[in-house]
């Protein structure tokens, strides 16, 4: 069933009458979701993705706009009449009913012609239980199930009415790392088997990229970009999308374009023909660096993380907005690394964004590549949405020029600061201590993320059970490094 969202807008009235304006949770959401696909709504918390999902489900009424399932306008239909299945973030299984009763509940509510006999109900429940592989757990209560099993029961309950559209709200957020990998494959399989148009919401870009046919990246209620996950990753429309997708995250630098040359800091790194002079942000994917003696970008090395096939070079650059520049180099190409490295940049991994609007500035071959991508997506029947022009911003939502260590201080820290001003040497002692702390905290986390990503690559072809082993290692990794660090 094709789902069409036309100029969908949801405005929540402000709670205080005197102060605070109304909240625009979803702003002019306009999208056509093709039949039988798995769509990921992706964005940071508070971007309106769940609100969009609940409007599609009918639990929340849009302030304006229309929702069509196929040709039917369902905007004003009650949830139970829309033919949807909804899986809640915490599953919302009825705790006092057994698995079977939970699955039967939607069927028992059917009225009139749709009403089924008891045998038919049981048969349908058993079929769907088999599909999600919980047919042996039918007499358990939800509290006797593991998180993954509860998740399946929730999906079974959503599927048993044979919905036209299946909606999943953060389906994996309550599962542990290992189960998450397994379950997302499961969701993919169930979706393929049933061919039901499925929309799921997540804040985890990795999750969305790995199983979606199509992702919708949102920020503050506005669609930032839509497209196939790989395309969105390779061709982000603006700085927000570029930063939101990818682990390790994209490296962002400040720079400028002058006389058709792209500068990172003061170093001219690429030739950009036909682009006007302007202040820009430059995003470089970690895999976009080439170690070369004659490279244009100079960075000070702070560490090298060896991950077997690849090596992650951690370095710093004065123009970098991230605390460290993280580049992934094939271990074959890595020679001796001293205290300083020089990088050349792969042109298709470098994204330029206007500093004012944070809008993408296409240059060189990227212009043609982008046009080709748009053509191909259109040919496949996708609607293309790219956010151009100024991005929606919250009051405190700025590109962080540096680590805002000082700003993050709490009330007590400020008080402490006031006191320490009286003492002479105190402030001087404090600052180096804080800056020294930051990278120490950073490294184990990112280390843990990196192997997780590499573990995924073979998994796409391998069966789920095979995928468990590497993911388990990945899940254990942070624990190990932490305990080692303590010892």
């Amino acid at each position: 069933m094709k789902v069409v969202l036309e100029h969908l807008t949801k405005i929540f009235p402000s709670r205080d009458k005197d102060q605070g304006s109304e909240v625009v949770a979803v702003n002019d959401f306009d999208l056509e979701i093709p039949d039988g696909k798995l769509i990921g709504l992706l964005g940071p918390s508070g971007c309106g993705k769940s609100t969009t999902l609940f409007m599609i489900s009918g639990l929340q009424a849009p302030t304006s706009g229309k929702i069509y399932f196929g040709e039917d306008d369902v905007t004003s239909l009650a949830p139970e009449n829309r033919g949807i299945g909804l899986v809640f973030q915490n599953y919302a299984l009825y705790p006092h009913m057994t698995v079977q009763q939970n699955i039967l509940f939607p069927l028992q509510n059917l009225k009139g012609e749709q009403r089924l006999s008891k045998e038919e109900m049981l048969q349908r429940a058993n079929e769907v239980a088999k599909l999600v592989q919980i047919d042996k757990l039918m007499n358990r209560k939800p509290s006797e199930l593991s998180g993954g099993q509860q998740q399946r029961v929730a999906i079974a309950r959503a599927l048993v009415k044979m919905p036209r559209v299946l909606l999943l709200d953060e389906p994996l957020s309550n599962l542990d790392a290992r189960l998450r990998l397994q379950t997302r494959e499961e969701i993919r399989r169930i979706q393929r088997d049933t061919q039901i148009t499925t929309i799921f919401v997540t804040h985890d870009q990795e999750e969305a990229m790995s199983i979606s046919d199509f992702i919708v990246v949102m920020k503050l209620g506005v669609i930032m970009q839509t497209g196939k996950p790989q395309w969105v990753y390779d061709d982000p429309a603006n700085l927000f999308v570029a930063k939101f997708l990818g682990t390790p995250p994209i490296n962002v630098f400040t720079g400028k374009i002058e006389n058709e040359m792209l500068y990172i800091g003061e170093e001219a790194v690429l030739e950009v023909k036909g682009i006007e002079d302007q202040e820009v942000y430059i995003g470089v994917r970690p895999e976009g660096f080439i170690l070369e003696a004659e490279g244009k970008l100079t960075c000070a090395v702070t560490g090298v993380d060896v991950m077997g096939r690849d090596v992650s070079v951690v370095s710093t650059n004065p123009a970098s907005l991230n605390p460290v520049v993280r580049s992934i180099i094939s271990s074959d190409e890595m020679g001796n690394i001293g205290t300083e490295v020089k990088f050349s940049l792969k042109e298709h991994k470098v994204f330029i964004f206007n500093k004012e609007t944070e809008e993408r500035v296409y240059f060189g071959k990227q212009v043609a590549a982008h046009e080709e991508m748009v053509e191909r997506m259109k040919a496949e029947g996708h609607t293309i949405r790219e956010h151009n022009g100024p991005l929606p911003r919250e009051a405190d939502d700025k590109v962080q020029e540096s680590r805002p260590v000082e700003e993050k201080k709490g009330f007590f820290a400020k008080l402490k600061g006031l006191f320490s001003k009286g003492k002479k040497k105190a402030p001087a002692e404090e600052t180096p201590a804080e800056t020294a702390e930051a990278p120490v905290e950073e490294t184990p986390v990112e280390e843990a993320q990196a192997p997780a990503e590499t573990a995924e690559a073979p998994k796409e072809t391998a069966s789920t059970s095979d995928a468990e082993a590497p993911s388990e290692q990945a899940a254990e990794a942070p624990g190990n490094t932490e305990s080692e660090a303590k010892e």
Binding site: E80, N90, P106
Partner: protein
């Protein structure tokens, strides 16, 4: 890690802090309970009366009189005949009538309160008022509301009660709820209305608290699953509230068996309408009336009441274990 294993060193100080509470509990709760049990089993042969009599404070002062252990007080209670059976019957009847009615009403009101936003606090306050009002005062107001005749036997009956006035407005004839010549069931009706009304606030409070802690997502899920309001109430709300409902029912039964103030408040300590004293006596009323002349009998009756309450509570717990979802 070592901190949790450390033995608390300030044991003595802790006991010291607890002492005032323990002393008060010992003197005013534990000792009376023990004493009640003791007294219930004490009796003696009174040669003047030529009968076995129970314990009473005045004769107990006399050092020459010795009590013996025996079941005579219980025999006394059970052979008190009609007065005991009346009290037991009234108590049972009131409990069986008021607990289900008040629980269901409280559940409906709680659900209604939970689903409105404006004036919620106002209604909550109104429903909570009986809880903070003196039972005797409420009883007197009820007596005035339900009365039909002035309580002087010489004058002609004149209808004064607001309830009978309301009946009159709708064309009904006034009912003699509780005055001289009123029927037993009219009396019981007044009592039931009073007790239910009086029991509502606490139950509403507990159930409303329970309702507010139910995750709203279950209702969203039920809505998506296409359940009607009625089914949502029976299949979601009631099971989710079952621990609170069980609590309210159990405490309701216990309170019901201790019913006394409602009767006194409305009918006075005659425990019945004019001309029929003792008709509406309850177990606690029976105990109180026995105290002045025979503490042994009162204690025995109290023990019997305790056993009944204990048994009923056990049955309640047994049933709720099967029905309540935790």
């Amino acid at each position: 890690m070592s901190k949790t294993k450390e033995k608390p060193k300030n044991n003595l100080r802790a006991w010291l802090y607890l002492t005032p509470a323990i002393v008060i509990l010992l003197v005013f709760t534990v000792w009376p309970i023990i004493n009640t049990i003791r007294i219930a089993f004490l009796c003696r042969w009174d040669s003047n009366l030529a009968a076995v009599v129970g314990y009473d404070y005045q004769t107990a002062m006399n050092p020459n009189i010795h009590y013996q252990f025996g079941f005579n007080n219980f025999v006394n209670v059970l052979s008190a005949g009609n007065s005991f059976l009346t009290a037991l019957g009234n108590t049972m009847l009131l409990t069986v009538l008021t607990v289900p009615i008040s629980t269901m009403l409280a559940l409906l009101i709680a659900v209604a309160l939970n689903s409105i936003k404006p004036l919620k606090k106002v209604f909550q306050t109104i429903f909570f008022l009986p809880y903070v009002t003196n039972a005797i005062a409420i009883g007197m107001v009820f007596a005035a509301m339900f009365s039909m005749v002035r309580r002087t036997p010489t004058t002609d009956p004149t209808s004064v009660g607001i309830i009978n006035n309301l009946f009159g407005l709708f064309g009904g004839s006034p009912v003699n709820w509780m005055d001289r010549g009123s029927s037993y069931w009219a009396n019981i009706a007044v009592l039931v209305i009073y007790i239910v009304w009086n029991a509502l606030p606490f139950k509403i409070l507990v159930l409303l608290g329970g309702l507010q802690s139910v995750n709203k997502q279950y209702y969203d899920a039920a809505k998506v699953d296409g359940a009607s309001r009625w089914r949502i109430f029976w299949r979601i709300t009631v099971p989710m509230l079952s621990p609170m409902i069980a609590y309210v029912v159990i405490t309701g039964f216990i309170g019901g068996f201790k019913e006394y103030t409602s009767v006194v408040g409305i009918f006075g300590d005659d425990m019945g309408p004019y001309g029929k004293p003792g008709r509406l006596d309850t177990m606690v009323g029976f105990i109180y009336n026995s105290i002045p002349h025979n503490q042994g009998k009162a204690s025995a009756a109290a023990l019997i009441l305790f056993v009944i309450i204990f048994a009923v509570t056990m049955i309640n717990l047994y049933v709720s274990k099967k029905k309540v979802h935790y």
